[in-house]
Symmetry: C3
Subunit: 248 residues, 3 copies
């Protein structure tokens, strides 16, 4: 038995909207405790870790553990058919061949997407000695990344006492986002030592794609180490890990 209902399914829609940018097919693990997935992108530069606990749902009825593979592009398209104010129910079709999404609002609409064979990856969480932790609004982070996109394909992220900086430099010019302690958009700045690392812009832009502008995002950083980007959800968690670019 797998059946669950969300009165406010926007969390799920936004999360899948970000994940689909990196991963096309994935296995979700449904257990009595909640839903989770963990996967690497095809280039193995980025990792996604997503969890929605049972209490993120208004009804949650999963009796046995079950692995369900779906094409995330199909899943995202189906979720995008949901209208604001509609309630979402997820369940498995009787013959086990489809994941059924039911939208309840002015009408009752049901979309079924094929359940496919995807092997669940064994992906263990990277252990990283982060030296800085930064909280900021999605809007400001996205602005900084889009500015950088105008001039370069990579971005340097730096944190030091009192300051957080995203900068880029190229033939077409330069860009810089600077947040100082006290700025409203900087919700957290915890720096153990000066930290800087370089990343591919394309991946960062994909990770923030599903975020709403007022969402809070937590970045954990270490010099020349992978970053962890956590989207703060009311319940559950969505985290991305991204390998740094190391200059030759």
């Amino acid at each position: 038995m797998v059946k669950m209902r969300m009165a406010e399914p926007k969390i799920l829609k936004n999360a899948i909207g970000s994940i689909v940018e990196l991963i096309e097919e994935s296995a979700f693990r449904f257990t009595p405790k909640g839903v989770s997935m963990r996967a690497l992108d095809p280039s193995r530069i980025a990792m996604v870790d997503f969890e929605l606990p049972a209490d993120a749902f208004d009804e949650y009825d999963v009796t046995d553990e079950m692995i369900i593979g779906v094409n995330l592009v199909d899943f995202e398209k189906a979720l995008s058919r949901m209208k604001s104010g509609e309630e979402l129910t997820l369940e498995i079709s009787e013959d086990g061949s489809r994941l059924l999404l039911t939208f309840r609002g002015a009408s009752t609409r049901k979309l079924g997407i094929p359940i496919i064979n995807v092997e669940e990856e064994e992906v263990s969480e990277p252990k990283i000695q982060f030296t800085a932790e930064v909280g900021l609004t999605a809007e400001v982070l996205i602005d900084g990344l889009k500015d950088a996109e105008m001039v370069s394909e990579s971005v340097l992220i730096m944190a030091k006492k009192g300051e957080f900086v995203i900068s880029a430099e190229g033939k077409k010019g330069s860009s810089e986002l600077r947040l100082k302690e006290g700025d409203a958009a900087l919700t957290k700045l915890d720096v153990k030592q000066n930290t800087s690392a370089k990343f591919e812009l394309e991946y960062l832009l994909k990770m923030v794609k599903g975020a709403s502008s007022s969402d809070e995002i937590i970045l954990k950083l270490g010099t020349d180490l992978p970053l962890e980007m956590e989207m703060k959800l009311e319940k559950g968690k969505l985290r991305f890990f991204l390998a740094p670019l190391i200059e030759a």
Copy 2:
């Protein structure tokens, strides 16, 4: 003399917006009683029947019967230049070569589109023994059709006592819109016997293209028979007929 004025020309704009999806050129018949057109689409699968009586206009001055052919793509483009709040006047240019649209608002703008030679088709209204009649809002019908579009190129429309269903099924998944007696979006459900028929989705989507989401639409159905789709207008009528898909 052909001259008419509409203070709220949105009806005409929406109607032409739907018709142009099916028919590129057409002859309109102007008589002292009103304007009408009836035509088959090039594939002869769909038929359009459109009528605006004289009292749908705020001024209506047509002394003699007249057939006027226009390219509907030109007509639709010209109508799309009209801004909300503007009043529309239609008339024939002095030399008889153009249909003139005058938009009156902050300024007075006039667009003329060529009158072309189109033979008026002899199209008689199909006589069909419908067994179900369903009224619903355009918004919900469009949702059901767009859901179906994600998984198939055709759609099954069913009506039975107490229930109306649009469903589709394909390799990419399944879709289903279900309305029950009592649902606000279901404005009418009159079923003589269980009724079902299959249709090409592409045509249905074109027919609803010009509808505003709050418009009421009446579907008349018979098992494996053509459907009639009527857009409820305050004055006048716009109906489409569409041949069913019959499985070999």
Copy 3:
């Protein structure tokens, strides 16, 4: 020293948004009195004359005259990254290689675009004996031009006592915008003699591209003479000159 700050930089953004449609690279002259540029488009059919006096800025600090060349496409893209409510600072980077734009709002973002070598053109203001001067809102002018675009590639602009008309004619039909003395959208009509001239629509549409719909635009006209189009700015001026089309 070149440094200036605008609390409401929309004037600059809109002006560059229009100019970039005609001219790709340009030299700006910065003097203690203000910023200016004057240039011909590559086809030499249109001329731009732009001036922002020092008092159009909230802070203005230019000690010596300086010519700064930029790619206007880069400049426009950088300005388009500015969000409403943000304050803009312009300055030259320390090494003199970049024009720096700083946006201050929820965060502080800085974009640098390369300063390039552009020779300042010697362009003297055309001396034209205009016979009509017309003021109208950008919205109505744009409507008239877009109507014309549906039927032709050129447009006839006429002014006579009490009336201003933009019309076009082609195989695809006709268009006409007519404004009469007393119409709210016609802010000025000063006609010495009946005046008419024909222009390439493409250029006129580019010139109005950056205008906000409520902006006032002043057209100065002479029969078969170039037109002057002035965008009324609170401070400073943006003018375009456009050569007429003369029928063979």
